[in-house]
Subunit: 282 residues, 2 copies
């Protein structure tokens, strides 16, 4: 862990304006949110359409050149997605276009890659207040802005696949059939995102109501207020018809138990946190 | 419900190309995914930045002019978000710019609004196969493309707030302090999105492995394969310090029980569905 907490620079596109008392620019907090959501949403501009492209992908923060780096260090985002070919192709053509139009340093332009916005959100609870307009969620939301390039180095691709696989289920990489075949690796899209900026936005605590409503005894006797905690829960693993391992391995059973307990505790912890002083508007 | 299943038109920006055997254009399926996720991701182009803006917002499909419309009917998307002012302002200025530059029909241009992409995703399970490269998720993911405008009619704003509030907890609107004050309504941002196109992508079933791996008895004796089901779970509601309702109301207790059971059953149902014939590549 770094000896002091690193923060992303505030850029015009990354600065939280509304409810800025909920904002954080801490690498540690932002990377933690990215690493613990099941998926991230990747958005980028499609020059042929007025609508941005948005694709859910699996991602994990890491450093290939310094694999022992901590979550709070400067890291790249590695992405693996279901329809990555479209993103990869756009990335390649975007890099080529930059090179063609600018006529600049070809290697540098290629490194620039596709401008993407990456979003990850945990919903920690439903916040139910007296007035419907103060209803809210407890949430931890992160957004990263960066440039995505396809990873071409075979060693880095293999390392990234291990990082991403173990980010879903710890130690699963070592427990599966290794190494991937050349054909499998060739058909697997991996992107490295150099992060330019990022921010997190976090709402925690109980509902906040106006004094006017809190002074209304009849209203308070009628309307239940509080937080319904929420988290992502795993059920009992279901073996495939082709599975031949009789007992569920402990690395997997333990992962399910631990994940559920950690997720539950986090939702309760976020609900119990001291309310922010600023009045909720929605 | 319509007498036949409506589908969104396939546009170049909305057509699923990769794993297109997982695609659906059914209004019913797409709207169902949007309505049952806790939040949607709203992305749009920021003319001052290379990176699209992405904001998590609460959304619900509905029809103000025909409130009894079914989930499978032609509907608008109503959005309410935490930092909606930024989106609303961009939407207004985008409409104005269009009007100024085109000099066309002012009302028509205003109706066009801000081009947004809306994404909603359920993760139904982790799919663990023999080779790491065939690992996947069971998921139901939807994307809508449309034009967003601020809702200015007070009656429609109130109706949309009720739609959105009851989309989070059924009947909560009627159970809270009504009506909202003029000040509350003025500070609440509501957007109506006219949907231009949409698509869903769904992966269900057990892992799919290569014949080569399935013929390897030693490998199958060693690597557990199957699905770890996943769903969003609600914990026991936590009353606020200011709460004065002694017992948890049944509409809320019943909602928590029913939601958990429906979400669990859906994850198990998706895992049990027949595997798609196409081989998994990732």
């Amino acid at each position: 862990m770094p000896s002091y907490e690193l923060e992303y620079p505030k850029q015009p596109f990354s600065t939280v304006n509304r409810y800025n008392n909920r904002a954080s620019y801490s690498l540690q907090q932002i990377h933690q949110i990215i690493n613990t959501t099941h998926f991230v949403n990747v958005s980028f501009t499609d020059p042929t359409s007025p609508f941005p492209v948005t694709i859910p992908m699996i991602g994990q923060m890491g450093s290939f050149t310094r694999p022992s780096a901590d979550t709070g260090d400067v890291l790249d985002l590695y992405l693996h997605g279901y329809i990555s070919s479209r993103l990869l192709n756009t990335s390649r053509s975007s890099s080529n276009n930059n090179t063609d139009s600018n006529g600049g340093d070809q290697e540098k332009e290629k490194e620039e890659g596709l401008a993407i916005t990456v979003s990850a959100t945990h919903v920690d609870g439903l916040v139910l207040s007296l007035t419907p307009n103060s209803h809210s969620y407890n949430y931890r939301s992160a957004v990263l802005f960066g440039r995505a390039v396809p990873v071409t180095d075979p060693a880095e691709r293999l390392w990234a696949m291990e990082l991403i696989t173990n980010g879903v289920v710890p130690d699963r990489w070592r427990q599966s059939r290794l190494p991937p075949t050349a054909g499998e690796q060739a058909s697997t899209g991996v992107l490295r995102v150099a992060v330019a900026a990022g921010s997190a936005k976090i709402r925690s605590g109980m509902p906040s109501d106006d004094r006017h409503d809190l002074d209304d005894a009849e209203l308070r006797a009628r309307v239940w207020t509080g937080v319904v905690p929420a988290w992502s829960h795993f059920g009992e693993p279901l073996p495939a018809p082709d599975n031949r391992v009789a007992a569920l391995p402990e690395y997997l059973g333990g992962f399910v138990r631990d994940s559920n307990e950690v997720a539950r505790e986090k939702a309760l912890e976020q609900a119990a946190k001291t309310m922010r002083p600023k009045k909720e508007e929605s």
